[in-house]
């Protein structure tokens, strides 16, 4: 059993499961974010701040958030271990690299894409998650912490908005390989479901980041 937990196959399955859970998290996160633009003005402020309060206090959400943090940490640690292991497996590289002709670019650069996403996640959590929990942010007219204004102000900055949009493009590439790869690893991408899973994965990898990116773009345009 010990060799089971230390095997590359077990580790990559955990990396796949944590990654796929994070895709589900993204969908939930996106639905929450859409409240920033579906309403406007004070109605949006009230709605979004109530939602933010719910997300930081509801016990069920708290349990889910612990699963999310665990997934992120697990996904990072496991993939770092696996990448280091694989680097050792080829100490001398090729003079001519033929990867471009037999595999997709994103599939060969998941570690780079993931590292860029980690930088984004850290800055993103500092801007909003940290501020909501421990930051000195003001209250809205209803007396709730005013995360809405923090968000709207953040995206008045073109560079912050551009960084967010760039990170969503990175996310799109990461998902374009990650979702299909996850299903392959956990064994669901059978020959019968190969095509629907691959098509859905590509559709998700375009739709989720585009929808995420549209929000700061709209907030920035509204601020002009």
């Amino acid at each position: 059993m010990n060799s089971y937990f230390s095997s590359t196959l077990f580790r990559k399955t955990l990396a796949a499961l944590s990654g796929l859970f994070l895709v589900i998290f993204l969908i939930g996160h996106l639905i929450g974010n859409l409240q920033l633009i579906l309403l406007s003005g004070e109605a949006a402020q009230k709605q979004f701040n109530e939602y933010a309060l719910f997300m930081t206090t509801n016990p069920a959400v708290k349990i889910l958030s612990i699963v999310t943090y665990t997934s992120i940490i697990l996904h990072i640690l496991l993939t770092i271990i696996l990448v280091l292991q694989s680097k050792q497996a080829r100490p001398i590289g090729y003079a001519v690299e033929g990867g471009g002709e037999n595999s997709a670019w994103a599939s060969r650069n998941m570690a780079l894409l993931g590292s860029l996403l980690l930088v984004f996640i850290i800055l993103h959590m500092k801007s909003f998650w940290y501020e909501m929990h421990w930051g000195a942010i003001g209250n809205d007219p209803s007396g709730n912490k005013d995360l809405y204004t923090v968000t709207v102000v953040a995206f008045q900055n073109i560079w912050y908005t551009a960084f967010y949009v760039f990170s969503m493009i990175i996310l799109g590439f990461h998902l374009s390989h990650g979702i299909g790869s996850g299903f392959q690893t956990i064994g669901l991408k059978t020959r019968k479901y190969l095509e629907p899973i691959e098509k859905t994965a590509i559709l998700f990898s375009i739709l989720i980041p585009s929808a995420f990116a549209s929000i700061p773009i709209i907030l920035y345009l509204q601020s002009l």
Binding site: Y4, K12, S86, A89, R90, I92, G93, A95, V96, R191
Partner: protein, 250 residues
């Protein structure tokens, strides 16, 4: 039949512990109907005639079924054609004046023995770790005594087409041996004859694969794209299932 002139950049290394490097050779007036290995034969004849050491490369059947002719040609294991071993690659697929870079398989478990020859015994040890298959000895069994569905026997046969050449490892950016190991595991796991030792087989082979120091699989699909027998990565998916269920069942 136009004649062909090429510049070859070939990895030369005297032994496993010796440092290696590329040497450049010009070769001219090649017949385009030659196989890639025959082109190397011509080069070696020239080298021998001029008193130089010929290039060491693995080869055996020269009809695409033994898996010996391992070399990476311009970054592609067995060269640019799909579903082809080096011996079945012909010089008509190259253009006059091309520079062709030839390297050995690159993986820590496959150390270079000399020039383009690598040691692939880790594959033998993975096979050995799978143990034996229980069969009745004695006279040859009657054909079709054990009924097996056509779809299952086709699937097992597709896995069994693996010639153990190592192109999957050479192509994989992680130098992973997942496709090879998965093909060998699936071939027996699919058939009734492979059921008795099914659990020990997958656990033993995956353990050995990891111990040999191959990298992990990140599903880039490069192995399937470069496999001369076009083995599907679906067998890797099957191996994952097989491995988890074997460990859970114990």
């Amino acid at each position: 039949m136009a004649d062909l002139n090429l510049t070859l950049k070939i990895w030369r290394q005297d032994g496993p512990t010796e440092p290696g490097g590329f040497k450049t050779y010009d070769i001219s007036d090649l017949n385009t109907h030659m196989s890639f290995l025959e082109m190397l034969d011509v080069l070696n004849e020239n080298l021998v005639n001029s008193g130089d050491e010929p290039v060491a490369f693995d080869h055996d059947c020269r009809e695409g079924i033994c898996g010996m002719c391992s070399m990476v040609i311009n970054g592609r294991p067995h060269g640019p054609l799909e579903g082809t071993t080096t011996c079945q690659l012909h010089m008509r697929h190259f253009n006059d004046g091309d520079t062709v870079t030839i390297e050995p398989w690159r993986a820590k478990p496959f150390p270079v023995l000399k020039d383009l020859i690598v040691d692939r015994t880790p594959f033998d040890r993975i096979i050995q770790a799978g143990g034996f298959v229980s069969v009745n000895t004695g006279s040859a069994p009657d054909g079709n005594a054990i009924p097996i569905g056509k779809d299952i026997s086709d699937d097992a046969f597709d896995a069994a087409a693996c010639i153990g050449c190592g192109a999957c490892v050479a192509a994989c950016k992680n130098a992973s041996a997942n496709l090879f190991t998965a093909a060998k595991i699936s071939q027996l796991a699919l058939l009734p004859q492979g059921q008795t030792e099914r659990v020990e087989r997958v656990i033993g082979m995956v353990k050995q694969m990891d111990e040999e120091g191959f990298g992990h699989c990140t599903n880039t699909g490069a192995c399937e794209a470069e496999c001369p027998k076009e083995i599907s990565v679906d067998y890797i998916r099957k191996m994952n299932w097989e491995f988890h269920s074997a460990n859970v069942k114990g």
